[in-house]
Amino acid sequence: MEKLMVYPYSKAYEPYVSNAEVLGEYMVTALVSPRGWGYEGDIIVDGQGNRYMVSADFTEKLDDCTCVWFVADDRRKIPKELLREKLQEAVKHGKKILYTRYGDDYCEEMKQLIPTELYIEKKMKLETVLNLSKDRTYNIDTPIIVVAGLGQDTDKLAVQFILMQKLRGKGYTAILISSRQDGDWKGVYGMPEFVFDHSVGETEKIIKLNHYVKQIEISEKPDVLLVGVPGAVLPLDGINHNEFGILAYEISFAVPCDAAVICMPYQSLFNGDYSQLAEDMQKRFGFSVAGIHMAAVVQDAQEFYAERKLSYVSIEQKVVDRKVSEICDDSVWNIRSERGAEKAVSQLIDILSD
């Protein structure tokens, strides 16, 4: 068992702690966040009831781990120098390094600082089981659940993990191709790098992704595949365009979707009627919406009107629970609650069995 420190920890990595099974042979022993991020002292509880306190003391916590996972959160920038300092410190102490900050333009420069014997490439080996033709896509026969979000920070990763675990708990072999580039974990494949690579042409991207999923299907023989869609699926306006949902569009050509779960931020005016959204998803992407997960974040309206920039603020789960029970619709869930997760999964199983 490798003892794992997650750095720089933020809320975006909480799903790995609360669904620790996905980490396989890794066990979280330390969560360290730069002091200025304000997470110091937070308590995170995993599925088994173990409690982890977020620390700001990297040096002290190094003693508790054998491996440091350098993670990326799009919403929180960390100064390059600080990152370098921590990486060098971990290396100096002979800790193994998992480095998944692929989005930084200095990613390669940082990786150079890691001696080969300490560097862990967190990629599952996919055997080339077929000689796939480069200019066509293939049918994916396994039922697919797509998890997409209407905004950033809408719990997409947590929803993917929870659904996967719940399906496994019911005896299904569920494999996830996650919306993030966090490497490959137990039953979880990260979204491959070429999907985010602007130098790869769109057609090529779609075909490659289709092949990637096909290979996973063949080698894992899952009963169900979950696919997380990176970013947000719809533009809000010309400024907050969410890259116009282009990735969702490409993914929709690469893989079929049997049922989609759409994660949305909390909205106090939402009355449970998402028919317009469902129609939109169907028309644009062929996603048949099975239900909505409401995340415990709200859009900061004042910031939006003042600066036209969309940002989200975390709120308490109980506000969402209250809303979901008020709406009382079988397809509007808070998947982060046990009840919501159970409801969502049984609904999804019903849809897929049909």
């Binding site: 200025g36 991020w37 100064p79 709120i315 308490e316």
Partner: protein, 473 residues
């Protein structure tokens, strides 16, 4: 369409046509004269053509009669989380003292507010405030610390201590620092420090010497501060021209009792401020013991200058024709443009709150020398309602929620007011001797609505002339 039909609208007549501002849709739509005339009095039955037009508007979702039913700010239900996660700016009142005594200063004794004292903030209090900030800002994209006075540079040593502390505690975040100064205490040693820490500096500058020195005089004397301030600022510009261009701006407080032309001419031509960003406001008299006196010459010149700004925005004048002092005098209309150019809403919600108040203690938090907490530095520090807590005990959420939901003191009037969404008053306007006064608030309404009406009209005229807010970056 019987007599009882009462669409929630406001009518606007501009030289380019007649408009209906639909409160439910948050949208302004041009209508034929006959429709406008009918909507104006609604006593006679509309003729067939008007009726058809109105039916069409209603089919498109206009002319609803709906009003908000319950006054409640949408943030109310998760205010606690906003407080916990979204603080964006901390303003530290490092001193209550000042080396000048400007007549219109909020602390001059001419306002219902505290007066200048010798009190300074202790480093202990500042540290607590900085720690509070760090632990309450995890979702905020801004992270700024402002130093406020009195004259903050009187406590330059404390400012340096605060910066060192914040830099050490806010690991992983970029902190931006700023302050407003009268400029008289800027020295070479301070320049180096400000440049090193990339401080944004706002210097108070009211115009040419004779205007500036009218109000901005050294405490305990009759000597104006212009010479000292301008010498210091010129030296800073000489020593650090790039920093100066990027980080130094000016704030001009305009006294409406005097003509404005001399100030415009000065900001147009004086070399040491040329190219700088200039903000300007008319003396704020919200909490003043005596209201502003507006001279006729001022009003004429001011309106003329503002009109020139509008002409610039529609391409009839060039930027160079507009005084730098007035270039920022477009914010109100820009806000209108943003309001009208964003997605239309379907109708008013059942529960809602008028525009105006900030979310107290969230985007901004002002900490006075004693550690008392206020929504911002503009509110009266002697007011019981304005004080929303103490740095030792945190925000008193009950009090803060009362300020957030200020509409509740005039609920009936606000829910029936066409300017609901664009209202611009916060509790500061309702504050009367430490209490929230419904009557005082209502006294502001007429001018508030007139201002909204004027700004919509200005915006619509500009729109008719081809102006687009989104192209005006």
């Amino acid at each position: 369409m019987g007599e009882k039909f009462q669409p929630f609208i406001h009518l606007l007549d501009i030289p380019y046509g007649k408009y209906v501002f639909d409160v439910n849709k948050s949208s302004a739509i041009k209508v034929p004269d006959a429709v406008y005339a009918y909507l104006k009095d609604m006593t006679n039955e509309p003729d067939a053509e008007v009726r058809e037009y109105l039916e069409d508007l209603r089919a498109r979702g206009y002319l609803k009669e709906k009003h908000v039913k319950v006054s409640e700010h949408p943030v109310t239900e998760y205010y606690h989380s906003f407080l916990k996660n979204n603080l964006g700016q901390l303003t530290l009142q490092v001193t209550q003292g000042c080396n000048l005594k400007c007549e219109y200063c909020a602390y001059s004794g001419n306002y219902f507010n505290r007066e200048h004292t010798n009190k300074a903030m202790s480093f202990e209090t500042a540290k607590k405030a900085i720690d509070y900030f760090i632990s309450h800002a995890r979702d905020s994209s801004h992270f700024a610390i402002s130093f406020y006075g009195g004259e903050p540079l009187l406590e330059f040593g404390l400012i340096k201590q605060c910066v060192a502390y914040a830099d050490s505690r806010a690991e992983g975040r970029e902190v931006s620092y700023n302050f407003t100064t009268n400029g008289t205490l800027l020295t070479e040693e301070k320049y180096d420090y400000l440049v090193e820490h990339n401080f944004a500096v706002l210097v108070s500058l009211d115009g040419p010497q004779e205007v500036h020195d009218r109000h901005r005089i050294f405490a305990g004397s009759t000597v104006g501060s212009f010479q000292k301030m301008s010498d210091n600022v010129k030296m800073l510009r000489r020593k650090y021209p790039n920093y100066f261009a990027e980080m130094v701006s000016f704030n001009t407080v305009i006294d409406p009792a005097y003509p404005i032309k001399a100030i415009c001419d000065f900001t147009d031509t004086d070399e040491w401020i040329s190219g700088s960003n200039i903000l300007s406001t008319v003396i704020n008299d919200v909490q003043a013991k005596e209201k502003n006196h507006y001279s006729e010459t001022f009003l004429e010149e001011y309106e003329y200058e503002k009109f020139k700004v509008l002409l610039w925005k529609v391409g009839r004048l060039e930027k160079k024709d507009i005084s730098p002092l007035m270039r920022k005098h477009f914010t109100g209309i820009k806000q209108m443009a943003a309001f009208f150019e964003r997605t239309e809403q379907n109708e008013l919600p059942d529960k809602g709150h008028r525009g105006g108040p900030c979310i107290p203690g969230v985007r901004k938090l002002f900490v006075d020398v004693d550690g008392r907490l206020f929504p911002c530095e503009r509110v009266s520090e002697t007011s019981e309602v304005a004080c929303i807590g103490h740095i030792d005990s945190g925000i008193d959420e009950k009090k803060a929620l009362q300020l957030l939901n200020i509409e509740r003191i005039t609920s009936e009037e606000c829910r029936n007011c066409w300017a609901y969404a664009m209202c611009s008053t916060c509790f500061m306007y309702a504050e009367d001797k430490g209490k929230l006064s419904r009557d005082k608030q209502l006294m502001e309404c007429q001018s508030n609505r007139m201002q909204a009406d004027k700004q919509i009209k200005d915006y619509l005229v500009l729109r008719e002339l081809g102006y687009s807010g989104e192209l005006d970056s």
